[in-house]
Symmetry: C2
Subunit: 208 residues, 2 copies
């Protein structure tokens, strides 16, 4: 590795600056007020640099969030570690305790403005754009589901979850109620809610 500037390294730095500026603007001003112009100004690049790499604001936002969970070393990380494809959920041998830890952390993230503002923006973009939704499925939802299934399978081996359980259904039952309450602001998000979800789902899929 050399310290001389070169085009590839300059591109990587611009890309990183653009994604960091996108996240900062979403958190500071709210997604609706973010524009390609504002991102370019804050990142210190020209608008054309952004349009060369991304077709829309939604696409920039998507990559800005994805960079967090992929652990790009040039990006800060707002507690999304557990959702990274390279990470695992905690496994202390106690499925109930570990799921409560994870769901309480999920609830905490959704009540943290620095985390929730960009994720909300991403959810809105995905909901309105089938192509972005396909990218989300492939690059975020599927790796996250694989990490969750690893932990659930370990629970099945430990006799703490029915060995015949449909793990996609288990994942949806655990996480969707939190995501819906958060996204549509329809109810309280707290530890009691997280614990109640885990208790109900483990009763539904108790080993027979």
């Amino acid at each position: 590795m050399t310290n001389r500037p070169n085009p590839a390294r300059r591109n990587a730095k611009s890309r990183s600056a653009i994604l960091a500026a996108t996240r900062a603007l979403i958190t500071e001003a709210g997604y609706q007020k973010v524009s390609i112009e504002a991102i370019a100004a804050k990142a210190g690049v020209g608008k054309q640099t952004i349009y060369r790499w991304w077709p829309s604001k939604g696409a920039v936002v998507f990559d800005a969030i994805l960079a967090l969970s992929e652990g790009d070393p040039e990006q800060e990380n707002h507690g999304a570690e557990k959702d990274s494809g390279t990470m695992a959920l905690p496994d202390t041998g106690d499925l109930e305790a570990d799921l409560k830890t994870v769901l309480r952390a999920t609830v905490a993230e959704f009540t943290d403005p620095a985390f929730e503002a960009p994720v909300r923006a991403l959810n809105i973009e995905i909901a309105g754009d089938p192509e972005l939704a396909a990218g989300y499925r492939e690059r975020m939802a599927a790796p996250m589901a694989a990490v969750k299934k690893d932990r659930l399978r370990s629970g099945q081996r430990a006799g703490q979850l029915d060995s015949g359980a449909d793990l996609d259904l288990v994942i949806d039952l655990l996480w969707s109620p939190i995501a819906q309450r958060w996204l549509l602001r329809t109810g309280a998000l707290d530890d009691a809610f997280a614990d109640g979800l885990v208790d109900a789902v483990l009763r539904a899929f108790a080993p027979s």
Copy 2:
């Protein structure tokens, strides 16, 4: 009641035309392409008429969807009857069968473009606007939850659901996974998924 035109009646007709035009445009062109200008042109009113009654596109969309579920006789109704505050869920005496009927119907609605396009638009608006979210909670989510709880309580009396069950949690576990899969397009929406949700939740809250 008189047949002579009067301002109140003219206002009601304009309002109704605006809401019908909003729903039609969302279904035909997609929410992103709908503008106040387009709504005004299709409804045959001036833009100022719309801005006099609604502060934003999101607010018009909200009332357009709400008019469906409130059963305004001048509006068509795309199968939203079961969500109306004046309606009830089916009660044949068999909670499992009735919940499967309702969840299968919910899944069918979400795969019907005429129904799902305006509801998707509404979800996107609610996700991005806390004030609209409060209106949604009060005018749509709460009445719908009351209707669902009535049916669940009847199931508790029939000994088909634990009498101590947290009914808000039961409702979230049944409906949120469908809403999330639909909104973010993360998985298949079919009868098997609907049935699997009902089976899991009734196991979790079986009478002790």
